[in-house]
């Protein structure tokens, strides 16, 4: 009797286990099938529905592809005109607030459950990752499209930023190193503060040399060095007017600061790694810890500055403020700094803003720039930036000069504005540090009226 009971128990266990395994496998299979069963649309269907209120086209590729780089085998770079971006890369960002940030982005971009959402990519993977994320967040009307088809037809509108090449993807930098820039001179620099950089020492791009931002600016105003000393800096770092210079850092604003100064000096080909050092690491490329020595050159090759209008000083800033119709001085600081709640810095006493400036947005505090960056620290969508500025009376047709406390945040925004193709742009080097240091300069505090 016991033998029979044991046999029965064993049999029930076996059957139960089989049912369990089959059930789980099946639900995974169903999940997989559900994902891969997102309907693919044809180019004709895309054309038919593009522009309709209840349809939204979402580019799930990297920000570099969205900006203009022809990656993953597409014939043309850039994004389908009218598409919004929601990169698969953003889903993998290691940040405890990432889920909340992504949800806010979905809302801001209009990717809602009521919409028919067309997800496109070029590698067959990005769209599926985003589709999985969206379906987990309650979006059901999802479609897939292979953008290679659209890119192959020159009659179909694609948009890329006029100067997208200024902001480079990691793959471009890797190719530059592998091909030795086709024997043309190039340098890769890691830009951060300090003689010794912890970021650099922990690991850097092969061949990269550390630039201490104190090599290009000095206190107490933290303006760029005089032109003769900037030339010495260039010679010391092996930079000539014809050198292709690639700048990056853990903090892109440091790289952007050096980039704007090099462009001001006249270096013809200055590039910034989009997304910073993290973009290189995420791409899986080699890092090294060897400290690479600077190799000097004897001549810069041109008179400094070659592009003097790229950086302006106090007098020009005042001229811009006086020209209310044709120009704007744009405050790239946090709201709290703009309204005078805080100066933002231990070493700047004054609080407020120069009278007559427009608030250009920045981030949550002096060390962040969320309003201009995606979750993976790549450049924010230009259409969104311009819409944000339009709400605050900043017209891209005007002469725009950006400033912040001492020039780092404004430098990054200047580079993005340049990438977007804005003409007549500059950075006001002295910024709030200089302006607030002279009590004769007019100041405002409090909340301004949105224009």
């Amino acid at each position: 009797m016991y033998k029979r009971a044991n046999l029965l128990l064993l049999l029930s266990l076996l059957i139960g286990t089989m049912i369990f395994i089959y059930g789980c496998g099946n639900s995974a299979k169903v999940e997989k099938e559900e994902t891969s069963q997102i309907k693919s649309l044809t180019t004709a269907e895309i054309k038919e529905n593009l522009g309709k209120d209840n349809w939204i086209l979402v580019d799930t590729r990297s920000n570099d592809a969205f900006n203009g780089w022809a990656l993953d085998g597409v014939d043309r770079g850039g994004h389908i005109k009218g598409a919004v971006d929601f990169a698969a890369n953003w889903l993998k960002v290691d940040n405890q607030d990432n889920q909340e940030i992504l949800k806010k982005l979905l809302e801001a971009k209009g990717i809602a459950p009521t919409m028919n959402v067309v997800l496109y990519d070029a590698n067959g993977k990005d769209a599926k990752e985003v589709a999985d994320y969206l379906s987990q967040n309650g979006l059901g009307n999802l479609y897939y499209y292979d953008v290679k088809e659209w890119a192959a037809d020159n009659n179909l509108a694609m948009e890329s930023y006029p100067n997208y090449q200024m902001l480079v993807p990691a793959i471009w930098v890797n190719d530059l190193i592998k091909n030795n820039n086709d024997s043309r001179p190039y340098k890769i620099f890691e830009a951060s503060w300090g003689e010794e950089s912890e970021d650099y020492n922990k690991g850097h791009i092969q061949g990269a040399i550390h630039i201490n931002t104190d090599e290009v600016e000095e206190g107490p105003l933290w303006n760029r060095l005089p032109d003769d000393r900037l030339e010495k800096f260039a010679l010391n770092n092996g930079i000539t007017v014809d050198t292709t210079v690639v700048l990056y850092g853990a903090d892109t604003s440091a790289a952007a600061r050096v980039a704007t100064i090099l462009k001001y000096m006249g270096v013809k080909d200055v590039r910034v790694l989009n997304g910073g050092y993290n973009a290189w690491v995420e791409a899986g490329y080699e890092v090294e810890t060897t400290v690479n020595k600077k190799v000097k050159v004897t001549s810069f090759g041109a008179k400094v500055p070659g592009n003097k209008d790229y950086i302006i000083d106090l007098q020009e800033a005042k001229e811009i403020l006086a020209d209310r119709e044709g120009s704007r001085l744009v405050d790239i600081r946090s709201w709290a700094e703009h309204i005078g709640e805080t100066s933002g810095y231990d070493y700047i006493e004054g609080k407020g803003r120069p009278a007559g400036v427009a608030w250009g947005h920045a981030g949550s505090d002096p060390y962040h720039l969320e309003d201009f960056r995606n979750p993976d620290n790549t450049m924010r969508n230009a259409a969104e930036v311009l819409a944000m500025w339009k709400d605050w009376g900043i017209n891209p047709e005007q002469r725009l000069s950006f400033f912040c406390g001492t020039g780092w945040r404004a430098a990054e925004v200047l580079i993005y504005a340049d990438v977007m193709g804005l003409k007549n742009i500059s950075i006001y080097d002295g910024g709030w540090n200089e302006w607030s240091g002279d009590s004769t300069n007019p100041i405002e505090t409090g909340e301004p009226k949105q224009q």
């Binding site: 503060w193 107490p220 810095y345 231990d346 070493y347």
Partner: protein, 142 residues
Amino acid sequence: MNVKIKKISSLFLTSMQVFVLSIVFILEYLSNRKMGVARYLTYKKALYETQFFNPDQLFFYKLILVSVLVISLAVLAYSLIKLKKSKVTGTILIGIVATIVLLLLVFLKDSIQLNAFPFFILALVIITLLQSFRLVLKLIDR
């Protein structure tokens, strides 16, 4: 003065001197490691240069320091010859050393390159004042 009180007050004065000097060295160390500290010290240096360390003021400080040094050396000589009190001698010696270091800071052009330069000056002035106070106490107690 009660021996215990003397010891406590001596310990307190020494601790204050060590604390003040340590803070300044820590600031100088951090100024090469932290951008925020470096910029803050640069700002303070620029501020104090106009308020307390302009060329006229620096000349005045040099005069005072040289006078203090001369007086200290005279007191040291007096204490060695007349008083023969080793504890007082030691106190005066420390004061002299602090004065000499201050003089070097003020005279040497390279010292102004120190990021925490104004704070070094301040720290050494505090140390010298505390040392003078300690000397007065010892003289009273004698």
